[in-house]
């Protein structure tokens, strides 16, 4: 026996610490219910300086009450927190760093706060652990970033702590599981407290996983991030959408997929019932989706194109529509939709044939990033869904279509499509010699450049100029030339000669619109199944109830 090697440590220190903290708020709690007005005091007892704290800011749902309250704790008591946040969408999320309550940040996505993160980083007010993809961050919650405290949001709770998160379940189950089963403390803000489980539409998170609930002063903030007004879709988006449908979706018979949030993909969704129908593609492509409930998908659903949609999160205004289409969406016994970001990210990683995304910069080899100088945006789920998962074993025709070699043990490849205009707003070229991310990475002492999608994962680049079928490239040099062939009049695009481009087109490695039988003059907005938000409401038979800011009537 190596008895002298046996550790003398206590094996239940986290459990004891949890008990200590929970006892400390005895007076502030009624069972599991913490009082709203003394909540800051409770937080100061439940959180300890140096803790790892998950604050639920998701893509859509924000635990904004908890964020506000956390920013009000005394930095002399609570400081040096290590924040784990899937998405940073609110000013309060960063106030806690400015006030010295927190120091370190691990996150996935920051839309509106990307400029400020950049600034705080430059001023050394904030340290970044890593910019993760969503499931990478959730995974680390179970490995080396196990939380001490989880702050989450739900629509409703009962007095025992059962939570109803409904269509906006999003990240909550993963965050709560990592905390609850490792003796961390789970605190949920709720819009409404009911007495009994029977008063909840359903239970999304069981009471025994939840330590405390608190009624928020106002309903949690939810961002309609995935609503695109068809009015703002331009003819160039229609053109690129037509090229995508004919030159990629139909060519490779893509049956299952994920779309990003851009106007390009919104155009594709609205072209399926019109242009897709003309091409006779219904039932052949786009049947199964890992997708947020995009309002622009309504016409395709109503026309019978879509078999199933699993959702990362909810979308404001889509609740009644989804509840009325349970064959399409995942719904609970109460009828309302249930989202789950972790599982949908897994579906988007392993389950689907294709990811179509957009970006701000692409380099000559197809590497891309949305991180530009002064803007640390993070990537959300794009790096996860926008890569070829080598663990995949199931074969579909689209996946097999990407195989290029005669090697008897070769495998297929997921379709990873970048769909970009050659120039961004303000005449900034999308195609660049070197991504800004390389410099930003160096300046911020990151061990690797914050690349969103690596070039070797990209199978297609689609611009208004044409499609480059990069999976057919025989060498890095050829890949670079193929990217250049569709990069228009950017410096990258001017770096390939026209004879080479003609040869690519002959070999089918690059296709221009006319090679696909598409005339740019055909690309009219009238081809879209809906031209306005009002049209989407009409398609949904009035079930879609758009947020006020999208109404123009």
């Amino acid at each position: 026996m190596l008895a002298n090697l046996k550790s003398n440590r206590a094996w239940d220190s986290r459990l004891n610490e949890k008990k200590r903290r929970c006892n400390a708020v005895n007076k502030l709690a009624n069972g599991k219910v913490l009082a709203t007005d003394s909540f800051v005091e409770a937080l100061e007892k439940l959180i300890v300086a140096g803790d790892r704290v998950v604050l639920e800011g998701n893509n859509q749902k924000q635990a904004d009450f908890l964020a506000r309250k956390l920013s009000q704790v005394d930095p002399n008591i609570i400081h040096n927190l290590h924040m784990l946040m899937p998405s940073i969408g609110l000013p309060e999320h960063l106030d806690i760093f400015e006030k010295g309550i927190a120091k370190k940040l691990d996150f996935s996505f920051s839309g509106t706060q990307s400029l400020r993160i950049s600034q705080l980083l430059a001023d050394h007010i904030l340290e970044i652990g890593a910019i993760h993809t969503y499931i990478e961050l959730y995974a680390r919650l179970f490995v080396d970033l196990i939380p001490n405290v989880a702050l989450v949001a739900a629509y409703k709770a009962d007095r025992n702590g059962n939570l109803y998160t409904g269509p906006s379940t999003e990240d909550t189950p993963s965050i709560v599981e990592a905390t609850a089963f490792k003796n961390g403390i789970v605190i949920a803000q709720v819009n409404e407290l009911v007495d009994d489980e029977a008063d909840l539409p359903r239970v999304d998170i069981p009471a025994s996983w939840v330590d405390f609930v608190v009624v928020a002063d106002k309903p949690f903030f939810i961002e309609p991030l995935f609503t695109r007004d068809p009015r703002l879709i331009k003819p160039i988006h229609v053109l690129m959408g037509m090229m995508a449908i004919k030159g990629i979706y139909a060519k490779h018979q893509v049956k299952s997929l994920n779309h990003g949030i851009g106007f390009n993909t919104a155009a594709i969704e609205l072209l399926l019932p019109t242009y897709g129908e003309q091409l006779g593609l219904k039932g052949k492509i786009c049947q199964h989706w890992a997708l947020n409930p995009h309002p622009t998908l309504i016409p395709a659903i109503e026309c019978g194109w879509v078999e199933t949609v699993h959702c990362f999160g909810g979308e404001l205004g889509m609740e009644k529509y989804m509840a009325a289409r349970p064959d399409i969406f995942f719904t609970g016994h109460d009828g309302s939709m249930r989202s789950n970001r972790t599982l949908c990210q897994l579906a988007g990683q392993y389950g689907v044939d294709m990811f179509v995304g957009s970006t701000l910069q692409v380099d000559g080899l197809g590497n891309s990033s949305t991180v530009t100088h002064g803007r640390l945006s993070g990537f959300g789920g794009a790096p996860n869904m926008g890569h070829d998962p080598h663990g995949r074993r199931h074969a579909t025709s689209a996946w097999l279509d990407m195989m290029q070699s005669q090697n008897p043990v070769d495998r297929g490849h997921k379709l990873v499509v970048q769909m970009v205009e050659t120039f961004q707003a303000g005449a900034k070229p999308t195609f660049v010699e070197q991504l800004d991310a390389v410099e930003v990475g160096k300046e911020s002492d990151m061990p690797i450049a914050p690349v969103m999608i690596y070039g070797d994962d990209i199978t297609h680049v689609l611009t208004e100029e044409g499609i480059a079928y990069l999976y057919q490239a025989k060498s890095l040099e050829e890949r670079r030339a193929m990217v250049a062939a569709v990069a228009g009049i950017t410096d990258i695009g001017l770096g390939v000669d026209s004879k080479r481009v003609a040869q690519f087109r002959k070999e089918g490695k690059v296709a221009f619109p006319q090679d696909l039988g598409i005339q740019p003059t055909q690309a009219q907005r009238s081809l879209l199944a809906a031209n306005s938000i009002a049209d989407l409401v009409e398609w949904s038979d009035g079930l879609y109830d758009p947020p006020a800011r999208f109404k123009s009537w």
Binding site: P299, R525, N531, S532, A534, E538, R549, K551, S552, W553
Partner: protein
């Protein structure tokens, strides 16, 4: 599929004019190939357009000679500059001349405009004044019919032009108001008028409420056919018995009675101007 009539809002000014006129009768005056262009935009770093955002066309509507004047809302917010304003004013004046000379000419005005073009300042304002006079002249002979459909709507001095029309046709997406939301917010503060609160804006200036309160005569769906039907209805009515702009006693009395110390909202406006017959 919903709304399968052709959308009117989706169309450019030129297409709107072409589709309203009887098929094949559209003949543009001072078309883009004439290159009558604003001299003021280029020095201010703005790319001008060869029609200056104003489409003037002669043709037939329902078989009768018609001039149609359409403002392109996409170019500079449909703003009225020296050239675009002169095109509209001159077309209206010529139509009045024609009517005086015994050539009955109907007039249709398609408003998608934020009002005067700030870059051209007084020249634009002078043109708008000319337009006002020309409408008042012309409406003695034929009904002058205004249409505002959206997405820009009709604001500034051109909202007065809309008010001078014999008849005004709107969609629910149109807006009609003297000052645009941003201007009101800038001048009166966000508490008075939040320019990002879209339901509030439409509840005050949207097509539906303007119709209910009697500032527009017909509300139509966003459909080319429905717009044409509404125009025919207006033409069949002939010259109106009373013009809105002659009814100033009625409006002044209402305006003078408003308690401006209270925040205006949709209910207040409805209580003052609401017409019970329009639900």
């Amino acid at each position: 599929m919903p709304n399968r009539d052709m959308s009117f809002i989706e169309l450019s000014a030129r297409e709107r004019a072409r589709r309203i006129l009887d098929q094949g009768s559209f003949r543009e005056l001072l078309d883009p190939f004439e290159k009558i262009t604003s001299p003021w935009l280029e020095p201010q770093g703005i790319v001008p357009e060869f029609d200056d955002g104003m489409v003037v066309a002669k043709g037939k509507f329902n078989g009768k000679p018609t001039v149609i004047i359409a403002i392109e809302g996409v170019f500079q917010g449909g703003s009225m500059g020296e050239v675009s304003g002169a095109k509209m004013a001159a077309a209206l004046e010529l139509a009045a001349e024609d009517n005086r000379s015994g050539i009955a000419t109907q007039a249709l005005l398609l408003f998608e405009t934020g009002g005067v073009r700030l870059q051209e300042a007084n020249l634009g304002l002078a043109a708008i004044a000319d337009i006002h006079s020309a409408i008042v002249d012309l409406r003695r002979y034929v009904p002058v019919i205004g249409i505002t459909a959206g997405t820009v709507g009709c604001f500034g001095g051109m909202s007065i032009a809309a008010g001078l029309c014999s008849y005004l046709v709107v969609t629910r997406e149109a807006r009609l108001g003297l000052n645009g939301p941003q201007v009101i917010e800038q001048e009166a503060g966000i508490e008075e008028y939040n320019s990002r609160d879209r339901p509030f804006i439409w509840s005050m200036t949207g097509g539906e409420v303007r119709y209910k309160n009697g500032f527009a005569d017909i509300i139509v769906k966003d459909s080319v056919n429905d717009v044409k039907t509404a125009i025919i209805q207006c033409m069949n009515k002939g010259l109106p018995d009373t013009l809105r702009s002659d009814d100033y006693d009625y409006y002044l009395q209402k305006l003078n009675a408003i308690d401006t110390s209270k925040q205006a909202d949709a209910t207040l406006v409805k209580n003052i101007f609401g017409r019970g017959d329009r639900k």
